[in-house]
């Protein structure tokens, strides 16, 4: 009886959060799935079964073989940006987390330096994107500097509103999502294991590869899930930093929405969701998220 009552109270305490997720997350996802199989015309959606959203999306994919159709090209481009960002955030994030976890010895300094990495996360992403403009623009600091020392004659055009600036901004914005989970895994590693490895004659490199990386794997996987899902669906960073010229999976959805083609937007969302789920389930095979909290 007492147990029943406790469980009921707990259920009541969790109910408001569940309700929010039901109304603003689960139900909307259901609508995305349903509407993706609706018909549409120039200005409204029509609640009748049609796979037009999907067929329009893949238009020309068979006719243009062996060339790639727009949607495949766009997804390949998105995957490429995703892969580049993932590799860079992983390398930088791992190194930063490693420094914080193993080389900063005082607890206070650890907190201060972690906070230093976190504060930008609490400020606006758009501003952090705009911030690159005075540095990378035609007359920006980088071009001026390179011209000043005579390395280049003409300003480099590919610095801003290019794939380069998109990846740079993504790394700038989202390395934080790698640092935190990896750091979290690393501080749980028993320091005696590392001492034991040194005592047994392992080099620093061997310790890193055989002890630290395997034990930090859960953090690496969680960080990777964050970065990959963010970049796969991103349209803001790619839009602003790409000068609205680079296509991506997220931007297709946005432009369909702007054209009021809701079923087509929903179909693209379902496709994006499917690909994201495949990537995540591949990654979660490596690690059980719940155990890591």
């Amino acid at each position: 009886m007492v147990e029943d009552r406790r469980s009921f109270v707990a259920w009541l305490q969790a109910a408001p959060m569940m309700l929010i997720f039901a109304l603003f997350f689960l139900l909307p996802l259901l609508f995305v799935t349903i509407v993706s199989a609706w018909d549409y015309n120039e200005y409204e959606m029509i609640p009748a079964f049609s796979l037009r959203g999907y067929t329009d999306t893949f238009e020309g994919c068979i006719a243009e073989l062996p060339g790639l159709c727009t949607i495949l090209k766009t997804y390949l481009k998105t995957l490429k940006l995703c892969l580049l960002t993932w590799i860079l955030t992983l390398l930088i994030g791992f190194t930063v987390a490693y420094f914080l976890a193993f080389h900063v010895r005082s607890k206070t300094w650890q907190i201060v330096l972690t906070l230093l990495c976190t504060i930008p996360f609490w400020t606006s992403n758009v501003i952090r994107m705009i911030a690159w403009i005075p540095l990378l623009g035609r007359n920006g600091l980088v071009n001026k500097g390179l011209q000043g020392v005579g390395l280049i004659q003409e300003p480099l055009e590919w610095l801003l509103f290019s794939e380069f600036s998109v990846v740079l901004a993504l790394v700038h914005l989202f390395t934080f999502f790698m640092v935190v989970p990896i750091f979290n895994s690393m501080i749980r590693i028993d320091k005696r294991l590392i001492e034991a490895a040194y005592d047994a004659g392992a080099t620093g490199w061997q310790t890193l590869v055989n002890i630290i990386i395997p034990l930090a794997k859960p953090g690496i996987v969680i960080g990777s899930i964050f970065v990959i899902t963010i970049v796969m669906g991103d349209f803001v960073t790619i839009g602003v930093m790409g000068g609205q010229q680079i296509a991506s999976a997220g931007k297709i959805i946005e432009s369909r929405l702007n054209a009021l083609q809701f079923p087509a937007a929903a179909a693209n969302a379902v496709i994006l969701l499917g690909i994201t789920i495949v990537i995540i389930s591949a990654l979660t095979r490596i690690v059980d998220i719940r155990k890591e909290l």
Binding site: R6, S7, F8, A10, W11, Q13, A14, P16, M17, M18, I20, F21, F24, F25, P28, L29, F31, V32, T95, V96, F99, H103, R105, L116, I119, P120, W122, T123, S124, N125, V126, I127, M129, I130, A131, W132, I133, P134, G137, N139, G140, L141, K144, H172, T175, F226, T229, I230, M232, G233, D234, V236, V240, G250, A266, A269, L272, L273, T276, R290
Partner: protein, 292 residues
């Protein structure tokens, strides 16, 4: 641990410093440039120093109605903050006992956190569109839309802030000593008294942290707001719109102001957390002090 620092320490410390410069350098560039002189442009060098771009933002000339967007974002951020704190603490307490659907709620929260924002945003927009359609069909006179800042917009923000709140609660309670509650119960405290006088004071610094996440994430939210905010814009949306049209440093001035609010909130939250922790250390434990 007084041993000499190895060479790898210095290499890594240099790397870390470079990373911090990479994080902050560009931001400081626009903070400085927002004080650009009247004839200055979007890039260095500074062409004199002035507050002209700030006054332009405040007077609203040249830029869309920023004051209104500012107030909207502020109000929304505060509401999101309060709801995030209350719902996260409540759900966090629930997870300490077992209840039906606990695992499900956990996975839904994680899914909401990592779901590409554009999909959530699209879903909520569709939901409200269909709702509007059915209300209009049922013959409601003059109905326009249920979509708005504090309906669809608020919901969209909560799908982003609540997972953070819940994860922070998990982190708190993983380190929480359950015996403290048992002791309170044994001494005859009601569940509410136990929460109010034992649990809450202990977790309070972290709860302030949840509030900090709630406000700042909402204040800067862009992707999920994009389709769900209705006819008005929040500050980040206005800023994003300006990136394609503005060629004067007023956008930097606006960016500096927006960041100033973020920094102010972060600073206040950190001060409150430090004060609370200091108080806990003073009053927290009388262990080892003998009988009083």
């Amino acid at each position: 641990m007084g041993e000499k620092r190895s060479r790898s320490f210095y290499v890594l410390a240099a790397f870390f410093t470079a990373y911090v410069l990479f994080l902050y350098g560009p931001m400081f560039a626009i903070y400085i440039l927002s004080f650009q002189g009247p004839d200055g442009g979007l890039t260095f060098p500074m062409n004199g120093v002035s507050l002209q771009w700030f006054s332009k933002v405040f007077s609203g000339t040249g830029i869309v109605d920023i004051g209104a967007a500012f107030k909207r974002s502020l109000k929304l951020g505060l509401v999101v903050m309060v709801l995030t704190v209350v719902l996260s603490v409540s759900a966090g307490l629930a997870f300490r006992k077992s209840f039906r659907g606990a695992t499900f709620l956990f996975y839904v929260a994680i899914a909401s956190l990592i779901m590409p924002s554009i999909i959530t945003s699209l879903g909520i927009a569709l939901e409200f569109r269909l709702l509007d359609d059915s209300i209009i069909k049922s013959g409601a006179e003059g109905w326009t839309t249920a979509m708005g800042l504090f309906t669809s917009g608020l919901g969209a923000h909560l799908t982003w802030t609540l997972p953070f709140g819940l994860l922070i609660m998990f982190a708190i309670f993983n380190r929480f000593d359950g015996r403290l509650e048992e002791a309170a119960r044994d001494l005859g405290a009601t569940p509410w008294q136990t929460f109010r006088h034992v649990v809450l004071p202990i977790i309070l610094p972290s709860v302030v942290g949840i509030g900090l996440f709630g406000f700042t994430l909402s204040w800067d939210e862009l992707a999920r707001s994009s389709q769900t905010i209705g006819s008005v814009n929040t500050l980040p949306l206005e800023l994003q719109g300006l990136t394609t049209t503005v060629t004067k440093p007023d956008i930097y001035a606006l960016g500096t102001l927006t960041s100033a609010v973020s920094f102010l909130v972060i600073f206040l939250a950190l001060v409150v957390i430090l004060v609370l922790q200091a108080r806990q250390r003073r009053h927290g434990s009388d262990a080892g002090k003998g009988m009083v």
